[in-house]
Amino acid sequence: MVLEATMICIDNSEWTRNGDYSPSRFQAQADAVNLICGAKTQSNPENTVGVLTMAGKGVRVLVTPTSDLGKILACMHGLEVGGEMNLAAGIQVAQLALKHRQNKKQQQRIIVFAGSPVKYDKKVLETIGKKLKKNSVALDVVDFGEEDDGKPEKLEALVSAVNNSDSSHIVHVPPSSGALSDVLISTPIFTGDGEGGSGFAAAAAAAAASGVSGFDFGVDPNLDPELALALRVSMEEERARQESAARAAEEAARQGGESSNSQDATMTENVSVAAPSDDNKRNEQLDNEAALLEQALAMSMDDPRASQSGGIPLVDADMSEAAMEDEELALALQMSVQDDANELANQNDLNQVLANHSLMSSILSQLPGVDPNDPAVRDALASMQPQGELMPKVSFLILFTILGLNSTEVQLVKPV
C-alpha cells in the first residue's frame, strides 16, 4: 500500500483512432485508465492520480493529482482525438505536476500510454530517463497501438534508464491480445509491485472474466461487509412488509374486483407477494432467464412448496423495486391495503382469467417487450392450469420474469 502520486499521460493522437483494439485504440486506453485510477485510489486512500493528454494542440493537464475518483473519471469524457503525441514534453509536464503535489511524502510515478510512433531518438529518451531517476520518479510505459520498428527498443531504453530497483515497468500489448485493460490487469503496472493493488486487480479480473460479480447483491462481503449487510437487511424488511401488505391484498382479491383495474392491481400484488412468500435466504446467483423460467415451470408442475429454493432470485428484487418505483403501482397497492377485508376469496375469478388463454395472450401482446410467440412465453402459458391457490402467483411470476428486465414497463395497472 505504497503512498503514491501518479500522473497518467494519455495518447490522444490521430493514431489512436484506429480500431485494431476494440472498440478503438483510444477507447481501450480510456478503459484502462479508468481501471488504473480505481486501483490506485483503492490500494491506498491517500493516493492521488492526475491525468494529462500528450497530443491534440499540445500537452494539457486535465486534472492535477487528486484522490477524487469522480473528478478523474469525469475529465476523461469529451476528449478529442487528434494531433501528434509529444512524449518528451508530456513526461516533463508530468514531472512538473508531480513536483507540485500537495503531499510531499508521496512517491512519484508517471504512467505513459504510447499508442503512436515515437519520434525522439534513444539518446534523448535516455537523458529524460536519467533525469527522472535522479529525482526518484518511477515510470511505467504501456506500449500499444502503432508497431513502429524501433519503438519497443526506444521505450525499453527509456524505462531501463529510469528503473531503480524494479520500480519502473514496461508492457508491450500487441493488437491481437484482446482488451487492453484485461492484459494490463495482470501486469505489475496494475498490481503495484505485487502489493495491495492485487486485491482490486483480482476482483476486477474475476468480474471481467465471469461478467457477473457472483456475490450476493453484487457486493463482495469481504470488500464491503457493511454494505452487503445493509442490502440484505433491507431486502428482508421489504419482503416482510410486502408479505403483510399481500395478506390484506389477498383478502381484497377474494372480494373479487370486477374491474380489470383492481384485479390487475391485486395481481401485481400477488406477484410481489409471491416473492416474499418464498424462502427468505435466497441467493441471487442465477440471472439467466432460461434457467429462471425452467425453475418457475418446475415449481408450477410440482408442489409449489416443495421446490422453493433456488428459483426466482434477483428478479424478485427487481420487481419489488419496480413496484416501488412506479407511482401508480404504489397507489394501487395502497388502495388494496386500505380495503377492509372480506374473508371469502373469489379465487375462481382469477383462475378463470388465467385459464382463458385468449385473454392472456391479448394481455401479453399489449405489453411492450413481450412477444407472445416467444417459446418461453408459450411454455408458460401452456403450463398454466387451474391447479391451486398458488398457481396464479407463480404464473404471474413467470410473466414478470420476462418483464423483469424492463422493470419500468410494468403497465398492468394502467387502465387498458
Binding site: 513536483k99 510531499k104 535522479k134 529525482n135 531503480n164 530497483s165
Partner: protein, 154 residues
C-alpha cells in the same frame, strides 16, 4: 584526535558538544541521486566512529556528480557547524548548499533557490575541517527540524 578548537580535548569529551548523531532521525534520512539506494544512512556516524570508513560510502550516480541529502531530526536543533569527509583524488564535494525546514526540494530547486548558506569545501579526508554556520542560523528563530544538503562535485 586533532581538534581545531582552542581547548585541550583530553579533559572533556567532545562528542556531546560536537555530535547531533543521537538527534538524527536515521530511518528517515534519504538522498537523491545516490548510486546505491539507502547508502546514505550509513554515512552518519557517532563521533567515535567518524573516521571509520569501512562501511558503505555515499556515492552519486556515475557521471552525475550531484547529491541531495535530506536529514530530518528527531527534535529541533541548532546547528553550529558542519563537517564533511569526502573521498580522495577529486571525489570530494567541492560546494555545499544548505536548506532548512523544507520538504520536496529536487535538483532544479536546489540549483535555483537561494540557500540558507553556501560553502566551498576543501578536501577533508580526516574530518578536521568544520564549517561554521552563520550566526543567523544559531539565533532564535532558526530551530531546525530538517536539513537538506546539496553537494556538488564540480
Amino acid at each position: 584526535m586533532a581538534c581545531l578548537h582552542d581547548h585541550s580535548c583530553e579533559e572533556h569529551d567532545c562528542s556531546s558538544d560536537f555530535s547531533l548523531y543521537k538527534h538524527i532521525d536515521l530511518p528517515k534520512v534519504s538522498a537523491l541521486n545516490e548510486a546505491a539506494p539507502g547508502s546514505v544512512k550509513s554515512v552518519f556516524k557517532a563521533w567515535e566512529q567518524r573516521l571509520d570508513s569501512s562501511g558503505a560510502h555515499l556515492e552519486s550516480n556515475d557521471g552525475d556528480p550531484e547529491l541531495l541529502v535530506f536529514i530530518p531530526f528527531t527534535s529541533d536543533v541548532k546547528i553550529k557547524s558542519i563537517s564533511v569527509v569526502g573521498g580522495d583524488t577529486g571525489t570530494s564535494p567541492a560546494k555545499m548548499r544548505a536548506f532548512i525546514n523544507r520538504d520536496g526540494i529536487d535538483f532544479s530547486d536546489a540549483q535555483s533557490m537561494r540557500p540558507v548558506q553556501e560553502w566551498e569545501l576543501a578536501e577533508n579526508l580526516h574530518g578536521v575541517l568544520e564549517y561554521q554556520t552563520r550566526y543567523v542560523l544559531i539565533s532564535y528563530p532558526y530551530f531546525i527540524s530538517h536539513l537538506l544538503l546539496f553537494m556538488n562535485y564540480s
